[in-house]
């Protein structure tokens, strides 16, 4: 059993402590915006925020999140209008869209810590997130756009 706050609401998961946060969120809390892509921390599709830090939920056991605050794509902003989400829409970033929740959560984390990242910092911060459809050019542009408006 693990207790935590998910998107601002108290949540108790009746599951083993080694259960990855990803599956607890998806299968037990029904928050399916967070995606499975590799299960081993290699693709970023499962990125959520734990106490404000981007983590790969597929390799984060519930026991590590006990008493903490989890934010998923569903809770990133009340109205879906976080600047990163807006920027993603303005630049028509997605193709299939499957990786994009993870990309957005990663980008939001970067911009919170570093509101005006350099190009190299953007590329580096986003390099853990795979997009098989190949939207990188727009992803990077959208992070830049959310940061500077350019």
């Amino acid at each position: 059993m693990a207790k935590m706050k998910v998107n601002g609401t108290d949540q108790t998961f009746e599951a083993e402590g080694d259960t990855p946060l990803l599956w607890a969120l998806r299968d037990l809390a029904g928050l399916t915006g967070t995606k499975y892509g590799c299960g081993t921390g290699l693709c970023g599709a499962c990125t959520v925020h734990v106490n404000g830090e981007a983590v790969r939920s597929c390799i984060t056991p519930l026991s590590d999140v006990e008493g903490k605050e989890v934010t998923t794509i569903e809770g990133l902003s009340g109205d879906g209008n976080h600047p990163v989400q807006q920027s993603w829409r303005e630049l028509n970033v997605p193709q299939c869209g499957f990786c994009q929740a993870g990309q957005i959560m990663q980008a939001a984390d970067l911009l919170k810590k570093n509101p005006k990242p350099s190009e190299a910092e953007i590329l580096d911060a986003m390099s853990g997130n795979v997009c098989r459809c190949g939207c990188y050019q727009r992803i990077i542009a959208a992070v830049r756009h959310a940061s500077t408006g350019a």
């Binding site: 259960t19 599956w23 599709a45 997605p94 994009q100 853990g128």
Partner: protein, 771 residues
């Protein structure tokens, strides 16, 4: 694939029933019909705005449907509901096809709602979303249905107001006549009960009046949901009482479990039961591989349980498959004469008389699609009915296969299509949905089958592995006078039929027999290679190895002869002409992507045009700093012409790709914004497959498993700027494929650029990121 085969049979030149339908709609007939018919102010008659042309879609199973009453409904509040009958996997077809209909109809896109069709081809027409066919096959039917609804709305208004139809104007989401005015919603009930007008009686919007078609101003319908986590993909379907299954499949195709110890698996908290699925071996179409399934309360427990299974596998018919040995064998075969598929002149004689010969060989490893969403499906099977939710590219094909596997009549099987988290051809094969259906039937509860990433890479329907050998003979003037092009690769057909060792007409039509070089003495050959794993189509299919070989070879030959690479390519392509399959020794079963050749001929002028365009935009011929190089490649696939000009930069011994120019001629460009996104994505996928994508086999088992061993291009090294140049065409230049044709020219363009940067020639895919 069976669809392809059926289609090819039905579109053979001798059977032109479909063409006749269109041929009868002559310009004269149309003009007469236009005047006699129902004229709506401000719209041109069909002869001016839209001349219908034959398209391969009519020969696909269940063809094309033109009934707007099936595709469109209008709510009293004016909401226009449009059916998306193709699967959305990232190309944008779920947006672009309804957009065509809406524009022609006069609907305001902001008031359009998209409804995803379930798998039902008798109702919606062909739904097989592959082969870069969505826009190519359906743009005409979408326009026709849009125009039909517009006419019906105008007709209903004319009746209601007692005015002449010609006095009625259809604007954006409203109909007017003098002071009379009505919204689409007000007229919907009357309009939709009218008879659907014939094509001949329709008027069409002229191109200059399009609001959305050709503009690229309509965002993807799922954009908001995707960015807020609300979009529903396969794994996001949750049913009450649903359990999750993860399956241990045989390491090599056809291996049977000899001993299963499931005690540790059953001890995992949350695990409910362990079930076995029958083992299959090719040809088994899309039947699952079989294996041992662990069913659990949730996904984490199912994965943990599956991983705790201890299984000893008995050797099977393909347990000796080893990639290194197999590639060596293919090389040997490629050097020998193969089965001749196309013959022009006397290759052997001309080769003997050549003053110089030049030969090169290019190989490619197997690839897995690795779409971001691994295979997944949910099934709820009852005693005499079944409902499935799955990300499938061919929902009706899946429905047929599932009905057969369950032994339930197809009318009792419903297949709901979710969004696809990427498809790339993998999700045309519905084995994972059959697995879910079988397990649900067996355990009498709703079941989700979830594939892990390792399952996906280790148990794919792999892109084939190949060796392509090209030999040329030059005359005294240094002109290519003879050419032998031998392609050796296990065939996709082995998924469907006993293995003959030879590729079949669809693979042959993908850059092999249709090779466009103007060489008087030509022999296009296919050497034998047997399949030892499941082979399936992967985005762009056989065009990848063919473009890889032909476009690398042209560059090598240029360097050998001291010529400019672009000049060499232009010289090899030769004069502006349309290839003549019959006169040029093409095989009788030549497959032009299922299209009528006369409508989509191989046009060398268009091929050269995109090459020149990409080269010019990239600044071909300019001097680059040391360690940088430009590379070119051009290829026609899916009846579309694409050239890539790639700039490579070697940094600390690593291949980087700062810039790509993609020039595409895909006929009429219906949604330039999504065409650009496809070209950008193709550059990334092309770079990934050039550098990294190799699945190799040892003792029948795939050696790669996750993104550590099967790497992807990421934002730390990717095609940083992709410029897409779309050749502008009027509607009369038939829209052609977009999803796939951007991929094939990328790997050879990168390799050619690497050569120009370093002097090192790469001939084997994947070639790694270090040089």
């Amino acid at each position: 694939m069976l669809h392809y085969m059926e289609q090819a049979k039905r579109s053979a030149p001798s059977d032109d029933g479909n063409e006749l339908t269109f041929a009868n709609v002559s310009r004269r007939n149309l003009l007469q019909a236009g005047t006699a018919g129902f004229a709506v102010a401000a719209f041109a008659n069909p002869a001016e705005a839209f001349i219908k042309y034959p398209v391969g879609g009519t020969a696909m199973p269940n063809g094309l449907k033109y009934d707007p009453k099936i595709f469109v409904s209008i709510d009293p509040d004016g909401t226009v509901n449009i059916i998306a009958h193709r699967s959305e996997m990232g190309t944008g077809s779920r947006t672009s096809l309804p957009m065509v209909l809406a524009d022609e109809m006069g609907a305001d896109w902001a008031r359009v709602k998209i409804i995803q069709a379930e798998g039902d081809e008798p109702k919606y027409g062909n739904q097989d979303t592959d082969g870069s066919r969505s826009m190519r096959h359906h743009i005409q039917s979408m326009r026709q249905m849009g125009a039909s609804v517009r006419h019906m709305l105008a007709s209903a208004a004319a009746k209601k107001w007692g005015v002449e139809p010609s006095a009625v104007k259809v604007g954006v989401h409203e109909v007017t006549s003098g002071s009379n005015k009505a919204g689409f919603g007000d007229l919907a009930a009357d309009a939709m009960s009218l008879e659907v007008p014939k094509f001949e009686d329709l008027s069409f919007r002229s191109e200059k009046d399009f609001r959305y078609i050709g503009k690229g101003n309509v965002p993807m319908v799922d954009l908001h949901d995707i960015t807020t986590g609300k979009a529903i993909y396969g794994a996001d379907v949750m049913l009450p009482g649903m359990k999750v299954a993860v399956i241990a499949r045989p390491p090599a195709v056809g291996e049977e479990p000899a001993k299963v110890d499931d005690s540790a698996a059953k001890a995992v908290p949350g695990v409910i039961s362990v079930e076995s699925l029958p083992i299959t071996v090719m040809p088994a179409k899309f039947s699952p591989l079989g294996g041992i399934a662990v069913i659990a309360e949730h996904t984490a427990a199912a994965i943990k349980g599956r991983d705790a299974l201890k299984i000893e596998w008995k050797k099977g018919p393909h347990s000796n498959y080893n990639s290194a040995a197999f590639t060596a064998e293919m090389r040997k075969t490629a050097a020998e004469p193969g089965k001749v598929l196309r013959k022009e002149g006397d290759m052997a004689g001309a080769m003997k008389d050549a003053s110089k010969t030049f030969a090169r060989e290019y190989s490619q490893a197997h690839m897995a699609h690795a779409m971001m969403e691994p295979p997944v499906a949910v099934a709820d099977v009852k005693a005499d009915s079944a409902e499935i939710w799955a990300p499938v590219q061919s929902p009706f094909g899946a429905r047929q296969d599932i009905a057969k596997a369950l032994n339930i009549p197809i009318e009792k099987v419903k297949v709901n299509v979710t969004l696809l988290g990427g498809g790339f051809g993998r999700k045309s094969k519905c084995d994972y949905a059959i697995e879910a259906a079988l397990l649900s039937q067996k355990t009498k509860q709703p079941v989700k089958v979830q594939w892990t990433r390792e399952d996906d890479i280790k148990h794919s329907f792999y892109h084939t592995t190949s060796v392509e050998r090209i030999e040329v003979g030059l005359d005294d003037a240094g002109k290519v006078n003879a050419m032998r092009f031998n392609s050796v690769a296990p065939s996709i057909l082995t998924t469907f039929a006993p293995d003959s060792g030879h590729q079949f007409f669809i693979e042959n039509g993908m850059g092999h027999v249709d090779m466009p070089f103007q060489v008087p003495n030509l022999s296009i050959e296919n050497g034998k290679a047997m399949a030892h794993t499941r082979i399936g189509w992967f985005r762009a299919v056989s065009n990848i190895p063919r473009a890889w070989a032909v476009q690398s070879f042209a560059s090598e030959l240029a360097h050998e002869l001291g010529k400019d690479e672009k000049d060499m390519l232009l010289e090899l392509i030769g004069s502006d002409r349309k290839l003549e399959p019959a006169a040029q020794g093409f095989p009788k079963d030549f497959w032009d992507y299922g299209e009528t050749y006369a409508e989509y001929p191989i046009d060398t002028a268009r091929l050269k045009n995109v090459l020149n365009l990409a080269a010019e935009k990239a600044g071909w011929g300019k001097t680059l700093p040391k360690g940088e190089g430009l590379g070119l490649a051009v290829h026609r696939s899916f009846v579309t012409y694409v050239a890539s000009a790639v700039r490579v930069k070697i940094v600390d011994g690593k291949i980087r790709v700062p810039e790509v120019h993609q020039a595409i001629d895909c006929g009429y460009a219906a949604n330039p914004e999504r065409i650009r996104s496809q070209m950008e994505g193709a550059a990334v996928m092309g770079m990934t497959l050039a550098l990294y994508s190799g699945v190799t086999f040892e003792n029948g088992a795939a050696q790669q498993g996750n993104f550590d061993t099967y790497e992807m291009v990421r934002s730390d090294n990717f095609p940083e700027t992709v410029h897409t140049h779309i050749v502008e065409n009027p509607f009369s230049v038939h829209a052609s494929g977009v999803g796939e044709p951007g991929v094939p020219p990328i790997p050879p363009a990168i390799a050619n650029a690497v050569f120009n940067a370093t002097g090192k020639r790469l001939r084997d895919l994947p070639f790694g990121d270090e040089i």
